[in-house]
């Protein structure tokens, strides 16, 4: 039975970083606001609240998405991973470690979004997804090497106003290379 159509809030259970969070949400509440204001998971940042900067990038069912345009009520039942869910205990995710080591940030505000996006970029590439700068998108052409140009295009949904792009691209390349070395695949 569907809820009464006049109700403007719902009881939902959000699955975030492997934890279940039952809560009642105003339907207007975005996933971003639910994370930040209700679950105190403030690592996901609000840069524009309009899908125009990428600072709120999270993984939903393993795919990157902007949390500001995702209604919390519509995220029920989906597996959400935020920047807080990437490290294993004290051990940083390789993407986080590369950002830290290569100074892939300045003010840090776009950083969680950049990192979540990069984690997904590496997976999308490994899955053979082409990009707008992939010369030949036909499947017969194979997976394009993850060049700096490919990384830049794939990461372009994450603005960094400090202009730390050069170091971010290096960090993504390093983490992608490490993943490829682990799995026997090829990053570049």
């Amino acid at each position: 039975m569907a809820p009464a159509p006049t109700s403007t809030s719902s009881a939902v259970t959000l699955h975030v970083n492997g934890e279940k969070y039952p809560l009642s949400v105003d339907h207007r509440t975005t996933l971003l606001d639910a994370l930040r204001e209700r679950l105190d998971l403030t690592g996901t940042k609000k840069g524009c609240d309009q899908g125009q900067c990428g600072a709120c990038t999270v993984l939903i069912d393993g795919r990157r998405a902007v949390a500001c345009l995702q209604l919390a009520v519509a995220a029920e039942g989906r597996e959400i991973t935020t920047v807080e869910g990437l490290a294993e205990g004290e051990r940083l995710h390789p993407v986080q470690q590369a950002f830290l080591d290569l100074d892939g940030y300045q003010c840090g505000y776009c950083t969680p979004g950049q990192i979540c996006s990069a984690v997904a970029v590496i997976e999308e590439h490994a899955a053979g997804w082409p990009s707008a700068v992939t010369g030949d998108v036909r499947p017969e052409a194979g997976v394009p090497p993850l060049t700096a140009e490919e990384i830049r295009e794939r990461m372009s949904g994450n603005l960094c106003r400090c202009g730390a792009y050069v170091n971010i691209v290096e960090a993504v390349a390093r983490a992608a290379g490490a993943r490829a070395a682990r799995t026997g695949g090829s990053a570049a």
């Binding site: 105003d26 207007r28 509440t29 606001d33 930040r36 204001e37 105190d40 998971l41 403030t42 690592g43 996901t44 940042k45 609000k46 840069g47 524009c48 609240d49 309009q50 125009q52 900067c53 600072a55 935020t82 920047v83 807080e84 990437l86 490290a87 940083l92 986080q96 470690q97 950002f99 830290l100 080591d101 100074d103 940030y105 300045q106 003010c107 840090g108 505000y109 776009c110 950083t111 969680p112 990192i115 700068v133 700096a148 990384i151 830049r152 295009e153 990461m155 372009s156 994450n158 603005l159 960094c160 106003r161 400090c162 202009g163 730390a164 792009y165 050069v166 170091n167 971010i168 691209v169």
Partner: protein, 709 residues
């Protein structure tokens, strides 16, 4: 009691060090202003005017007060009174835009007219959008042009508004070569990734504000003045700041939050939306600049004129001193510079990364390139021939001027010697290729600051200084500076910043933060080290030494103190589509001693990325009919993305400042300076077409027509 057994360690300054707060930033643990939890928090949402000039006729607050969760509606008919009768940190009156809800006057589109406070952000937003405000509208004017008769000189910028020596017309007449051109730069916005956010609350008679700003002392002092409070009754904290670039001082949202917290007697948070930031966070004014250069056939300048006019609001005078760089860079027998403003019905501009120098260097360094073209002198050689001995206007000696060394090193690394000076002759598929160069300079500032350094009983050290790390790496740089001054390792030093209770210190601004703070930290740390006799015990409360650099900084000899740099860019232009892509950039800087090469390089490169963004993308479009913005968001206002930024390299030459205890000059802004000119000059070299209006958008490239060569 424990004993101090620290081995003497030096050499942290100059060695790459990852950010001390880096782990918090990559894990999401670093909390920014809007993320600190408060019990019983209420949320405020600003309502901005929808007319560009007029008076508020009515505010239908009763309707909104009946909406779910709404706690209060502040507006000019219901708000605490504040004072603007004081002197701000720049030595002039404050921008009254921050003194919200004091009268019914609306001086620009997007002026704050009300604050709606509710239990949740959703309720506050809905109520704010529902609030009906009516206006008595008056005709407005927002259009800046170079020939406005109402432009006037105002003596509140850095340096005099007008500086003239020599007979300009006579020297121009005697010049074999004359460049006479008008350059324009558009309205630009800082757009730090973290929107402005503040939470205010009263804690037993003391005002506490958790904020995102470039100087908690700055904001605390202004709030104390506005609300007529004793300075000690205001505490402002700002630990992590998601970028500022000049926009994060005292703004409307902090004052509105304090008002609401006062009225409701509970904590109130006000966060600006991205769209609101376009009206309330300040911006870089558009400029219209005319440059006239007169030179002998060998390129030596006889005449230099640089006149700039910028837009300011009707409530505040802000000078975008674009003619300033000419007073440092080049001399001529006749040397005229002037900065003028026009008061228009638009928001107040403010400092934005490299204020004056960023737009001014675009015009001046483009004009130099035009002179190089006309004289046939290589652009670098042209600058060599025009190196001044002393400050062209001040007559003062330079406190280090390694500009030509930057050009020589840059030219070597960029491959400048192989460059064919002819425009429009290199092609790579659909792309025409070109290279360009430009000079950069930015003042090296030191301002009085205080610091406290404590030797803790456990053998570690705590530095307390009211510095701000807005992404600059200041926290880490100060750790390294303190470690060297204490002869210890950086991991034994804890630096605490961003708290007005730590005492007076300069802001993160003017590229003078790390230098000013580093000076104070060094002074306190060195004295502490001397006080800690080897083997002597430290009491449980530690031993604290405080410093105040007011006297030492005041004793600095008068000199032309600047950082310098040389910018190089290679671009590709598709004249069929108007697309311009930067292929590579190199900047070589002489900017004092580099404290942390890892973060410094990042910051120089970041500035150069701003230059790319300024050259090709950034332009806030003001709608003439409404006086408001068209497309006031990050889809309408383009900043460079990853895909726009190629291999950008920055490096430096040794340029230790002997007059600074650490050798620092300052690096925060010079990366932007000259970068847009280098790109524009490269576009000319690629196409033979000179672009004198930024940004160089595809439509402008297409309208400029086919390549000349």
């Amino acid at each position: 009691m424990t004993t101090l057994a620290t081995p003497a360690v030096k050499g942290s300054v100059g060695t790459a060090h990852t950010r001390v707060e880096g782990r918090d930033k990559v894990t999401g643990a670093a909390r920014y202003a809007g993320e600190i939890p408060f019990a019983d928090l209420a949320h405020g949402w600003l309502v901005l005017s929808t007319v560009a000039r007029g008076r508020i006729r009515s505010v239908a607050d009763a309707d909104v007060l009946a909406m779910p969760g709404v706690l209060a509606v502040l507006h000019h008919g219901y708000a605490p009174r504040v004072s603007t009768d004081y002197t701000g940190i720049l030595g002039g009156p404050p921008d009254p835009t921050a003194a919200v809800f004091q009268d019914d006057r609306v001086p620009h589109h997007g002026w704050p007219v009300a604050l709606v406070v509710a239990e949740t952000p959703e309720q506050a937003r809905e109520a704010a959008e529902a609030l009906v405000v009516t206006y008595a509208r008056e005709p407005h004017d927002t259009e800046l042009s170079g020939d406005r008769p109402d432009a006037y000189a105002v003596e509140s910028g850095p340096g005099p508004a007008v500086a003239e020596k020599g007979d300009l017309e006579a020297e121009l007449a005697a010049s074999a070569i004359v460049v006479d051109a008008e350059y324009t730069t558009p309205e630009e916005h800082h757009n730090p990734m973290e929107p402005h956010a503040a939470t205010a609350r009263w804690d037993g008679g003391r005002l506490e504000v958790v904020d995102s700003n470039q100087g908690t002392g700055w904001v605390a002092a202004e709030l104390a003045q506005m609300f007529s409070l004793d300075p000690s009754a205001v505490r402002v904290r700002s630990e992590h700041v998601g970028g500022g670039f000049g926009s994060k001082g005292l703004r409307a949202h902090q004052v509105a939050a304090v008002m609401a917290a006062t009225v409701l007697q509970r904590p109130v948070r006000v966060v600006l939306t991205r769209r609101q930031m376009f009206s309330l966070a300040g911006h870089r004014s558009p400029t219209v600049q005319r440059v006239r250069l007169g030179a002998d056939p060998d390129g030596r300048l006889r005449a230099l004129e640089h006149r700039s006019v910028n837009r300011t609001s009707t409530v505040y005078e802000f000078v975008e001193s674009a003619a300033g760089p000419a007073r440092v860079m080049y001399d001529a027998a006749a040397h005229h510079t002037a900065n003028r403003v026009v008061r228009l019905d638009a928001p107040s501009p403010t400092w934005m990364r490299a204020p004056g120098e960023a737009p001014g260097s675009f015009a001046l360094e483009s004009a130099l390139d035009e002179l190089a073209e006309k004289t046939g002198v290589d652009p670098i050689e042209l600058r060599v021939r025009n190196e001044p001995e002393r400050g062209p206007v001040s007559g003062l000696p330079f406190g280090g001027r390694n500009l030509i060394a930057c050009f020589r090193e840059g030219a070597r690394r960029f491959g400048w010697a192989e460059r064919d000076p002819r425009p429009g002759v290199r092609r790579d598929g659909r792309w025409l290729l070109g290279t360009g160069t430009a000079a950069a300079s930015f003042p090296a500032l030191a301002l009085p600051s205080t610091a406290a350094v404590t030797a803790e009983a456990d053998g570690t050290f705590t530095v307390r200084i009211n510095a701000a790390d807005i992404g600059t790496g200041a926290r880490t740089a100060l750790t390294l500076i303190a470690a060297d001054a204490l002869h210890t390792a950086p991991d034994r030093v804890r630096v605490r910043i961003g708290d007005s209770d730590f005492g007076q210190a300069w802001i993160a601004g003017g590229s003078g933060g790390t230098r000013s703070w580093g000076w104070a930290v060094t002074a306190a740390a060195e004295e502490l080290r001397q006080r800690l006799a080897p083997g002597a015990g430290i009491p449980p409360e530690g031993i604290t030494v405080r410093s105040d650099t007011t006297e030492a900084v005041g004793a600095l000899a008068q000199k032309e103190r600047h950082s310098f740099g040389a910018q190089f860019a290679e671009v590709a232009v598709d004249t069929a589509t108007g697309e311009v892509r930067v292929r590579r950039m190199l900047g070589i800087f002489a900017a004092g001693r580099i404290v942390n090469p890892l973060t410094a390089r990042n910051q120089f490169v970041g500035g150069m990325v701003w230059g790319i963004s300024m050259a090709l993308h950034e332009e806030a479009v003001r709608d003439r009919a409404s006086g408001g913005h068209y497309g006031a968001d990050l889809a309408g206002y383009h900043v460079a993305t990853h895909a726009d930024v190629p291999r950008v390299e920055a490096d430096w030459i040794d340029d230790t400042d002997p007059d600074d205890p650490v050798g620092i000059k300052g690096i925060g802004e010079i990366g932007v300076v000259g970068a847009a000119a280098a790109v524009a000059n490269a576009v000319w070299h690629a196409t033979g077409v000179r672009h004198r209006s930024l940004p160089i958008r595809p439509d402008r490239v297409l309208q400029a027509g086919a390549p000349r060569a």
